[in-house]
């Protein structure tokens, strides 16, 4: 386990290019606060039937996958670009641990940015915590973090393949903002689109997260939490399989040691 954490910590230090004060504070603290403010004001001035709390809670929850997706995909991308991917694939290390180690240290960032969002919302916008069931809230936050990490790791593998983290991150975070109910209630989506959210992380996590503010206990949001966990496991396994496929493809084509198309 110590080796797993050494790997996690050092890949994070080596490959997370936002790990400098301006980029880190900007992305972990400032961006979520701006997103919450922007969506809350947009909703208010667009005469949305939803109250401000809907956007505040939704965007606070969304801040976690945001930082995890953009952080993890860039790490995977830089692994290929700086030429260390071959050395990682050429070692005898356990692939399962290598895969998960790429996300572990990003998890606290997700928690930190969500905590910042909620603190900001409570102190400056007046988000009401008086009825909150804290156990449900913390559980849903942890599950949102885990599912976001699993999703980010999964699409992060694609960043290795396509040699671009911006497109992958934008696509991944765009999917979540549209289909998971963070700003648009899932039931309001047309046709089959409400079901898209069921196979994405965050949808059920954010539903439980919202209910926690109304005092819902764990049992009453159990289905949401179980679904969020199931989605996390599916993305975790899918991403790992993709990683193995990429490794096999790298050996077959020899193309993954080049950094340019």
């Amino acid at each position: 386990m110590r080796n797993f954490f050494i790997q996690s910590y050092l890949t994070y230090r080596a490959l997370f290019f936002w790990l400098n004060w301006p980029a880190y504070t900007g992305n972990v603290f400032l961006v979520p606060v701006l997103y919450i403010t922007m969506l809350m004001l947009t909703g208010r001035f667009a005469n949305s039937p939803l109250d401000s709390d809907y956007y505040i809670k939704g965007m606070a929850a969304y801040s976690t996958p945001f930082i995890l997706i953009w952080g993890i995909t860039q790490c995977n991308y830089y692994e290929r670009v700086i030429g260390t991917l071959g050395h990682v694939l050429g070692c005898s290390g356990n692939r399962w641990l290598i895969y998960w180690s790429r996300g572990t240290m990003h998890f606290p960032n997700g928690m930190l940015t969500l905590a910042t969002s909620l603190t900001f919302a409570g102190v400056f916008i007046g988000l009401d915590f008086s009825s909150t069931n804290w156990l449900t809230l913390v559980t849903s936050i942890l599950l949102i973090g885990f599912s976001s990490m699993a999703f980010a790791l999964c699409i992060g593998v694609l960043a290795i393949v396509v040699r671009d983290w911006l497109v992958i991150s934008a696509a991944g975070s765009g999917l979540l903002i549209v289909f998971t109910g963070v700003v648009i209630p899932v039931d309001e989506l047309p046709l089959f689109l409400p079901y898209v959210g069921d196979v994405l992380p965050l949808t059920h996590g954010v539903a439980a997260f919202r209910e926690a503010f109304d005092g819902a206990d764990l049992a009453s949001v159990g289905t949401h939490l179980a679904w969020e966990l199931a989605v996390s496991i599916c993305y975790g396994l899918l991403g790992y399989l993709l990683f193995l496929v990429v490794e096999a493809d790298a050996k077959r084509t020899g193309a993954y040691e080049t950094s340019i198309l």
């Binding site: 110590r2 080796n3 797993f4 050494i6 790997q7 050092l10 890949t11 230090r13 080596a14 490959l15 290019f17 790990l19 700086i82 030429g83 260390t84 071959g86 050395h87 990682v88 694939l89 050429g90 070692c91 005898s92 290390g93 356990n94 290598i98 790298a250 050996k251 077959r252 084509t253 020899g254 040691e257």
Partner: protein, 324 residues
């Protein structure tokens, strides 16, 4: 297992074809290796030489399990590189030349600790080995400097230290001295006999003939993916070059001397270079033919400062083999 194996590395009819598709989907194939067979005895320093694109790096990548062969077999310490890749990885280290392949944002020590963790080395043991290896390659003082601040030579030494982390019995060194200044390159070369004396089998690819001549017990020259020659450096020079060299230092340089001496029978190639106020002609002649008299006539006896016959260098033999 290791002690029982006479050849640490074996390649049998190894082929590797790279395929790519252009924008309209048309497939293009490039053959990097063509029926390459070679054997590296356990404990030997084996040089793999060849021009750019000859297939040296492809061979190293196949042997270090980073690439699968299109057909043929490769074994390292008896383990098949495709079906027993885990065992191969546990027993090999690879050192690639160049600036890439290291994490620039973290220190040299952290790079070592990371790869030790990746290879399941116990953290305490990893700390000990890191310290020892960084000291061995002269990087102890810079252990806590981010690698992005390292010079190219320092990065290369870190590559070597990393390749030795698992103390592998077989080492693949792909152009380890490329782009390094002469003193740095010499320092790196010193590691090869040192490692060989520890019983390691080393496969070294290089462009530098003097390096191969000095370091390798056995050499294989490959060209366009095919084995062109193999043997000890001495055998290559004698048997495969089939030339003798006459070096003539000319007092009064003349442009037409290259063309005139080239016309002589049994002359295979003439190269001209400046040597202070003199002109130096390096004339490759068919092996066993004494052309000194004819050369003196052609150049003019009074125009010759010196004339020496010698065996070809490995570089000359190499050029001769590749130009055949």
């Amino acid at each position: 297992m290791v002690a029982a194996i006479s050849n640490a590395v074996e390649c049998i009819n190894l082929n590797r074809v790279y395929s790519s598709r252009n924008v309209v989907g048309r497939r293009r194939d490039f053959t990097a290796l063509r029926d390459l067979s070679l054997e590296i005895p356990t404990g030997a320093v084996f040089g793999l030489l060849g021009p750019n694109g000859a297939g040296k790096t492809t061979t190293v990548r196949i042997l270090s399990t980073l690439l699968t062969p299109t057909s043929g077999t490769a074994r390292v310490l008896g383990y098949d590189v495709v079906s027993q890749s885990k065992q191969v990885r546990r027993n090999t280290g690879f050192i690639l030349g160049g600036e890439r392949g290291l994490y620039g944002r973290i220190t040299g020590e952290q790079n070592m600790r990371f790869f030790a963790a990746l290879n399941h080395i116990n953290p305490n043991e990893a700390r000990r080995r890191t310290e020892q290896l960084l000291d061995r390659v002269g990087l102890s003082e810079h252990a806590r400097t981010p690698v992005e601040n390292y010079s190219r030579g320092m990065k290369q030494r870190l590559h070597i230290a990393r390749g030795l982390l698992t103390d592998p019995p077989v080492l693949f060194m792909d152009e380890p001295t490329i782009g390094i200044d002469p003193i740095g390159a010499q320092e790196l070369r010193n590691y090869v006999p040192e490692l060989a004396s520890e019983g390691k089998t080393i496969l070294l690819t290089t462009h530098y003939m003097a390096e191969a001549d000095m370091l390798c017990d056995t050499i294989a020259i490959i060209d366009r993916g095919e084995l062109a020659a193999s043997g000890t450096p001495g055998e290559i020079k004698r048997q495969f070059s089939q030339i003798g060299i006459v070096e003539v230092t000319v007092n009064r340089p003349r442009e037409d001397l290259v063309a005139r001496t080239s016309e002589l029978e049994a002359v295979e190639r003439v190269e001209s270079s400046g040597e202070g106020p003199f002109q130096k002609l390096t004339i490759s002649v068919s092996y066993g033919v004494d052309l000194r008299g004819r050369i003196a006539e052609t150049v003019g006896a009074d125009n010759i400062e010196s004339m020496v016959s010698r065996d070809p260098t490995l570089e000359e033999a190499y050029i001769n083999i590749l130009k055949r």
